[in-house]
């Protein structure tokens, strides 16, 4: 999985591509932990390029959410592919994440 980043005002956008699973989940969590240390806790995760996710990948997103919540921040999830969204719904994670069609909509929600 690849992660690229961009900044919109006080928000950080993490653009993921590839498979978010056990081997790559630590990479995401490590990047989020580094941002949280710098008090950058308004995160948008653009998942348009993620074509597979497993429970480890979901766990990394949830632990990221927990880390930013502790500093009054939030994680917004953007552009889920159909099958990835079905796994969010199966595990009910769509109830704890704000899920948006695009980065612009997620940014407006902060």
């Amino acid at each position: 999985m690849e992660i690229s980043e961009k900044r919109i005002e006080d928000m950080d956008v993490l653009v993921l591509s590839g498979r978010l699973e056990a081997a790559s989940a630590k990479k995401l969590k490590g990047r989020v932990d580094a941002l949280v240390k710098e008090n950058r806790v308004k995160l948008i995760v653009d998942m348009a390029g993620v074509d597979f996710i497993d429970s480890s990948g979901l766990g990394s997103l949830v632990s990221s959410l927990r880390a930013v919540n502790e500093k009054k921040g939030d994680v917004k999830v953007v552009a889920l592919q159909k099958q990835v969204r079905s796994i969010f719904e199966l595990t009910r994670l769509h109830r704890i994440f704000g899920i948006y069609d695009d980065v612009e909509a997620a940014a407006k929600s902060f």
Partner: protein, 145 residues
């Protein structure tokens, strides 16, 4: 149709798990499962292989995980086997995604508690576990409609 069977063996390295997933997805498509079913079956096999590497082998590389795919007219069967530490069968009995849905979502548990077995039980028609002769196998079955 006679049973058709193929076996894949990978080293216990998380970086290699996607290779099994991609193969399983193609097998499933070949067996006439829909695109979404093939994705879900891939997810279940990935969860099982990851469990073998993380829990049975404690993350140690250099061990083997064997995935056998058997296709008949009525169902596809995936056996994921390792020779590591056996799983407590109670974990499989207790895994219930539907039950956890009825309770308040616990963010700490979602992050830290394994949901893989619950996902498998939700998606597959049969999930069984056996441990004998120093080999542990998780068996996943999906009916072909």
């Amino acid at each position: 149709m006679a049973l058709r069977k193929v076996t894949l063996i990978i080293e216990s390295n998380l970086n290699d798990v996607p290779l099994v997933g991609i193969a399983v997805n193609r097998f499933s498509s070949y067996a006439a499962f829909s695109e979404i079913d093939a994705f879900n079956i891939e997810l279940c096999v990935i969860e099982a292989v990851t469990n073998s590497i993380k829990h049975a082998y404690g993350g140690r590389s250099g061990q083997e995980v064997m995935v056998t795919f058997t296709l008949s007219d009525s169902e596809a069967v995936f056996e994921i086997c390792d020779k590591g530490k056996p799983m407590d069968p109670e974990k499989l009995k207790k895994a219930d995604l539907a039950a956890s849905h009825r309770e308040k979502l616990d963010i700490d548990c979602i992050a830290d508690c394994g949901r893989g077995l619950g996902i498998m039980k939700e998606i597959m028609d049969v999930v069984e576990y056996r441990s004998e002769n120093e080999t542990n196998c998780l068996v996943l079955k999906k009916r072909i409609l």
